[in-house]
Symmetry: C2
Subunit: 365 residues, 2 copies
């Protein structure tokens, strides 16, 4: 299957797999698609280890890295060394009390006191070191998850022969991204898991395709070959997938989360600011409900919200309060009902795509 | 183009056009698709006149009628003759005051006192007479907009040789509809205008196609041939469209509303209960914002909400307060930027569809 995207990146199939799990990334790239490692949760040192592992397991096939450099966030003008401290001071006591009370009501044990990561790679200061690590590896693609990456980062990637992709949820975003030099726009509909806009994939893709000259990938709601064919019919030159890799054999998804996803319907997700402060589609549960309730103090802007809740989410993850365990998930989880290998998922996408295209051709007769 | 749907209904193109305007219905049917007249706003006598006009202008081509028989609504067990009076008594004074204050704040003139329709055809008592009128005309399709129609209505339609369609926003709805004898399921994604669910078209269609044996139409976000091809790639055997007919030459859409739609982006709609009490996608404006504000008393269940607001909406329509004028509109309005004839819209859908399918076929080489 050839599009401008397969030519640009030297891949056989225009199938992109976003995952935080290195095993999934390597498996999809080996199967002819392109695995893209989400760097968000990793320190630069951890990211170095993950990418080294991928280099050793990807059989020389192209792969990518995804960072999160939001165009705007609270504290963007603070000096790096005082960033965490000053941000912590911006979190109101009422918000801390709300989180404490919520966890107490669900009998979540107190924190062990161990310090976790409170500031992930979604500030300029924390994402740039990730970019530097990534560019020391033979990556083919650097993707940015929240709006246009800084122009100098795009230039740096290009100097390393690395193509740059960025996620857009409106045609206006896409135009801005192309203006700073982005090579591929990932147009992501509201049904996608994680940070997402309001416009659905069906409505968004043709608008973005018409707005920019660079190739577009369809993201949001792509889980089988029919959806891949639909995305390509809309004008995309490839598909960007995420949630479907959470339940593959290779995924390091915790057992509880995997069970929840396999059992969920497409109505069991919600677009919520309760994870990071920006709207993200999450598994709907008592956590997301609590932040929408009358008692909720409202969410804080990025990155304060995650700083506020990161310790709570870690405590929940270690407790029996699975009713509070929340994580990004797209509406496509409603169709994810069995565990397959990543290679089989790639194969099913391709064979379903071919079937759909042949069916469409037959209707015209 | 042939599918089970074109064979079933004797039409050339599997393109369905929902419209409250008889001119649009007749024009689309004459162009080879199927116009479907929304009966909601008409009394039985008015509907009789509209259908007579269509009979005289459709050149013998098949057309359909759409009614709204919700599976559940307040007052469903009241006797028809006391329905309006008892329902009026269920509307709290605080809600009436909220509407009065909102209109006063926007300088909307007082009502002329003339009695308008407060109960549209969305109760069993008001929709059945519409069905009886419709079945006296040579219609090919009876569609129901809110869940499965009553089984006896399906049987009555079948006795008249009329096929029955119903709108579904989840696979579970679709299965229930087929159980009562529905011939065609219209699977409608959240991006659609009017009453709509939460799941997007991209995610919903394959789930419904897999859940039922009858043919499925794709609805929500279908505005051009690429989107039609996408809907068919997802497994649908036709497309159901609505918002795109609001701006065609033939449409009787008020000039102000037409301008708003032509200027809108896909982010200018919102799913709101402020029109009928059930979630419907509307043009986002100061009316929908007011019902989401802190001062809002909350919306009432169907059909009380429309009884509460019907007079207000009529007053707004006659005033200069266009910032309050609200109406159903899907996200596709972001791509509706010019006025064309209904026939040209049908032609563009077909030619765009053929182009998209040929493009997809070429990628496999």
């Amino acid at each position: 299957m050839r599009t401008r995207v397969t030519d640009m990146l030297g891949i056989e199939l225009p199938i992109f797999a976003f995952s935080h799990c290195r095993d999934v990334v390597a498996a999809v790239s080996r199967a002819g698609g392109m695995g893209v490692l989400g760097a968000l949760y990793f320190t630069p040192e951890e990211l170095e280890m993950e990418l080294k592992w991928i280099d050793d397991h990807v059989d020389g096939k192209p792969y990518g890295v995804d960072v999160v450099m939001p165009a705007s966030y609270a504290g963007a003008d603070f000096a790096p060394e005082e960033l965490v401290g000053r941000l912590q001071g911006m979190i109101p006591e009422g918000h801390r009390a709300f989180v404490d009370d919520l966890l107490a009501a669900h009998n979540v044990p107190e924190s062990s006191g161990e310090a976790g990561k409170v500031l992930l790679g979604w500030t300029d200061a924390t994402a740039r070191p990730q970019v530097e690590v990534a560019l020391r590896h033979p990556i083919a693609l650097l993707a940015n998850a929240l709006g246009p990456p800084p122009a100098d980062v795009v230039e740096l990637a290009h100097q390393h022969g690395v193509k740059v992709a960025a996620l857009a949820s409106t045609p206006r975003h896409a135009v801005k991204q192309v203006e700073v030099g982005v090579d591929i726009v990932v147009a992501q509909g509201t049904e996608a898991g994680g940070h997402t806009g309001e416009i659905t994939t069906m409505v968004l893709i043709p608008q973005v395709v018409d707005a920019v000259d660079v190739p577009v990938l369809a993201a949001g709601g792509i889980g089988d070959g029919r959806q891949m064919a639909a995305g390509m019919a809309l004008g995309a030159e490839g598909v960007w997938t995420g949630s479907i890799w959470l339940t593959v054999e290779e995924a390091d998804t915790p057992a509880m989360a995997r069970q929840r996803i396999l059992a969920a319907t497409s109505r069991d997700t919600v677009r919520s600011r309760s994870w990071t402060g920006k709207p993200a589609r999450l598994l709907k549960n008592e956590w997301t409900d609590a932040w929408e309730s009358e008692d909720s103090p409202g969410t804080l802007p990025m990155p304060l919200q995650f700083m506020l809740v990161s310790d709570a989410l870690r405590r929940i993850g270690r407790s029996d309060a699975s009713e509070l365990a929340t994580f990004p998930a797209g509406q496509i989880i409603g169709t994810m009902n069995q565990v397959k290998s990543a290679k089989d998922v790639v194969f099913d996408l391709v064979s379903g795509y071919i079937e759909a295209v042949e069916r469409l051709g037959g209707l015209e007769k």
